[in-house]
């Protein structure tokens, strides 16, 4: 790794050497073992009970969490002084990826280790950590996070739940209803957000047994049925003053910072779920015979398998690249200081846009994956005897919680523009250059001798395209751009595709030479297949965006830019897809593990 640490959003305006990206091929022996322990645990101890778990036998979930505790799978983010391991993000992402084969169970795990544990880790006082952290990281207690209310979901700060200091000053009295609380049915510790004096948004650590807390009935859900989701009703719930978490009135910081990690981790988890679904689809395609042939021999099915493989390779590249970015950044912070977690939060916040990208991109890849895996199963995908049906139902929530994909899409350009305003990213200067490029014809020929030359040229061009569109939008709407959601969504789509494609290309470039020739061919194929998709998606978002922002001659000019900068020569695309699909079917696995 070079000295320079990439800033959040900076990927949009600079060239990045492949040596700078972290890839799954860079895992240490220890990290690989974390992955193996998790994978074996899930395969042997959770997957065989999934049907039971989905019938809401929550004892099995709680038992599973305790076993996770014994294996150390709950202590990765906790500080060493409290018995934690303080591992890097790449390790916790790998575990999140592997846990995801556990369906509903993995939702309980993710909520516990993410939104359930992190507020205490990041903001808890030594006294609070002494009291609760060991119970949480050993799995003795399960944890939950209560932000959403019937009247406030995306608008989390619009919460109605209230907190009032008791007359003797020893307790807060909490009132209100929290809704859709994961692990609600069996959690012992709840991080609850409420407004003190109807004004100061604040987090509280609330034990299940505190007077005035009631767990409501289980929701009847579309999927992740084995994950507990309940209302939490607070009726003059008595919370000791020492259980205020973080500063009074600063609850929003806790709520949002924890969500950054949550989004990133959700990306890892859904990427893992995509792999599981893909392999199920491949195996089925190899078994099912129609017209006296395996259906995996049909081009229509092959294309699905190839597209999904390339999409998942992109998800995986993206998630671990982001892990590397965060780990590099967080490693610069000196441990143990008083301001450690404040600096740590800032370090994560730096990449808030990329965390949102991880969530949106990977959850949408999973959505396509489960949809196509049902399709590969035909009618057998529609009945619950086969797991495809469950994958399909379980998937849907991932585009809703941890910030809906709309909220995350808005946040992506929002974060980037905010950085530009603060002078942290020279977006305006770069946009000027992009406009210049738009005016001047280019005769840059692609040098075929360089690995992934066409894909790299596309990347460079898509960055120019993003700058042209964002630049035009900002110029036209100035600080009112936030009201132009359709434009922001289009900008987000381009930014997402750029980050995904760049992660894909850089990973492939970095690791290529370590593989056999055969595998190199597969890698080139995956990159080509994904680059084609990225060029189409980014191009279509840009075209749409151009119509939204401009008209007349300027529109015509921008549209010609869209054509020029989203162009990608995908010669050999069909052969690439067949190669990927045939290798996947021969090996019956995701090819790039």
């Amino acid at each position: 790794m070079t000295e320079k640490i990439l800033r959040g959003g900076e990927y949009l305006i600079c060239d990045i050497p492949c040596a700078d990206v972290f890839t799954p091929e860079d895992f240490s022996d220890e990290q690989k073992q974390f992955g193996e322990t998790t994978e074996r645990f899930v395969t042997n101890e959770i997957v065989p009970h999934l049907d039971e778990i989905d019938k809401q036998n929550f004892d099995l979930v709680v038992e599973g969490m305790q076993k996770c505790g014994e294996l150390g799978l709950l202590m990765m983010d906790a500080p060493e002084e409290y018995g934690g391991l303080e591992l890097d993000k790449a390790s916790s992402m790998l575990v999140a990826e592997k846990i995801s084969a556990g369906g509903s169970f993995s939702v309980a795990y993710a909520a516990h280790t993410g939104i359930g544990t992190l507020p205490l880790v990041y903001y808890g006082t030594p006294g609070q950590k002494d009291k609760y952290l060991e119970k949480i990281i050993s799995g003795q207690w399960c944890a939950a996070y209560c932000l959403t209310e019937p009247g406030s979901g995306s608008d989390a700060l619009g919460a109605q739940a209230s907190a009032l200091l008791s007359e003797d000053g020893t307790h807060y009295l909490l009132n209100g209803t929290k809704q859709y609380i994961t692990n609600g049915g069996f959690a012992q510790l709840f991080t609850v957000f409420a407004k003190i004096d109807k004004e100061h948004f604040t987090a509280f650590l609330v034990e299940k047994d505190f007077e005035g807390l009631t767990v409501g009935p289980e929701e009847k859900k579309m999927g992740i049925k084995g994950s507990s989701t309940t209302p939490i009703i607070l009726d003059n719930c008595r919370v000791p003053v020492e259980n205020v978490l973080g500063e009074i009135g600063k609850g929003h910081k806790i709520a949002f910072n924890v969500l950054n990690v949550g989004r990133f981790k959700l990306g890892a988890a859904v990427m893992g779920a995509s792999k599981v679904a893909l392999v199920t689809g491949i195996k089925y395609a190899n078994e099912r015979v129609q017209f006296k042939q395996k259906i995996s021999s049909f081009g229509a099915i092959k294309e699905k398998i190839a597209d999904l493989t390339a999409d998942i390779y992109a998800s995986e590249s993206l998630v671990y690249r982001l892990a590397g970015l965060l780990d590099t950044k967080l490693a610069t912070i000196e441990k143990g200081g008083d301001n450690y977690y404040a600096a740590y939060q800032k370090g994560i916040e730096e990449y808030a846009a990329e965390c949102g990208i991880s969530k949106v991109f990977c959850s949408e890849v999973l959505a396509r994956t489960v949809d196509e895996v049902v399709q590969i199963h035909g009618g057998y995908g529609y009945v619950s005897d086969y797991p495809a049906e469950r994958y399909y139902r379980d998937e849907r929530i991932n585009r809703i919680f941890e910030g809906t994909n709309e909220i995350n899409r808005l946040l992506i350009p929002g974060m980037i523009l905010r950085k530009a305003m603060k002078g942290e990213l020279p977006l305006q200067a770069e946009a000027m250059k992009a406009f210049e490029a738009l005016m001047t014809p280019s005769f840059d020929a692609v040098d075929e001798a360089i690995d992934f030359a066409a894909e790299k040229a596309l990347l460079k061009n898509l960055k120019t395209l993003f700058l042209i569109l964002a630049g035009t939008g900002v110029q036209k709407f100035m600080d009112k751009i936030a009201d132009e959601q359709e434009i922001l969504m289009a900008a987000a789509d381009i930014a997402i595709q750029i980050f995904a494609l760049e992660s894909t290309v850089l990973r492939a470039e970095k690791t290529l030479s370590a593989f056999s020739e055969r595998k190199q061919e597969l890698l080139r194929a995956a990159v080509k297949v994904f680059a084609f998709r990225a060029s189409e998606e980014a191009g279509s978002a840009a075209r749409k965006g151009a119509f939204y922002v401009e008209e007349g001659d300027t529109l015509t000019m921008i549209l010609s830019g869209v054509r020029r900068f989203s162009k990608f020569d995908a010669t050999g695309l069909l052969a690439a897809k067949r190669l990927l699909a045939e290798a996947s079917c021969e090996e019956e696995k995701y090819l790039f593990n």
Partner: protein
């Protein structure tokens, strides 16, 4: 008590195997590697023995290129105390006697009281290394054990025989056992133990210093057996299928003749 566990790194058996250019082994490119399944039972049993006998010390040994260290670290994370890695880039060409000879050369003056090996490796499957090693070290060996207990210098093991019969065998240590499926359920290394294993000793020794025996046999060729004539799939209405099947059996076999 001084315990030795011998482990081998083998490819993931779900891999797609290809025969390499020499035609004497498979192509190792792009494969995923793990601990030989039977060796995992060996490691687990050794760790259980250590948990029973205060002061016991487990050495885990593996021969192979640098990447076998990854597998050895797993054994250390499961509870072995130290590792001896015999560096050898040519391990897949060596015959069982040569391998056993290398280990014996290392182990001869170390006074091991108990040696655990797998009953065979999943990739080569000769099943010879354990017994050859015992012979070279002049200690007793019991193969394919499915149960193990230790008391006061004596071990009692069970072996599975054909026809659902078991044999119980008792012997004094020093002894070598080769471990079979069913012996135990290997633990998953916990994350804290994986981290602790990083600090354990992992010594590397060059194979040249220990290789005193020449190989006695060579694998001439490995190959996929030719497929026998393909099967026949009958499709359609079950009643008609039954008739069709009877016809075929009558014509092509003597079953219904």
């Amino acid at each position: 008590m001084n315990i030795l566990v011998c482990i081998k790194q083998v490819p993931d058996m779900e891999s797609k195997f290809r025969i390499d250019a020499s035609a004497a082994w498979f192509d190792t490119a792009d494969l995923a590697w793990r601990m030989n399944e039977y060796d995992e039972y060996g490691v687990e049993q050794a760790v259980r023995l250590k948990e029973q006998v205060a002061g016991a010390d487990i050495t885990v040994l593996s021969i192979g290129p640098d990447k076998v260290k990854e597998t050895m670290k797993k054994a250390l994370a499961m509870g072995c105390d130290r590792g001896v890695h015999i560096t050898d880039s040519d391990v897949s060409r060596r015959d069982p006697a040569e391998i056993a000879g290398i280990i014996a050369e290392y182990a001869r003056d170390k006074n091991f009281d108990m040696i655990f090996t797998g009953m065979q490796s999943q990739d080569r499957g000769s099943g010879q290394v354990g017994v050859l090693l015992a012979e070279m070290l002049s200690c007793a060996a019991v193969t394919t054990i499915v149960d193990f207990s230790y008391r006061e210098g004596r071990i009692e093991v069970k072996r599975e025989l054909e026809g659902g019969i078991r044999a119980s065998v008792a012997l004094n240590i020093p002894a070598l056992v080769t471990c079979q499926l069913g012996l135990n359920k290997p633990r998953y290394p916990t994350l804290p133990n994986i981290m602790k294993a990083k600090k354990k000793e992992l010594l590397s020794l060059p194979v040249e210093d220990l290789r005193k025996l020449e190989s006695r046999q060579q694998t001439a060729r490995i190959y996929f057996p030719e497929k026998k004539g393909g099967g026949l799939v009958l499709e359609g209405d079950p009643a008609r299928l039954a008739d069709e099947l009877i016809q075929i059996l009558k014509q092509k076999t003597s079953i219904l003749a």
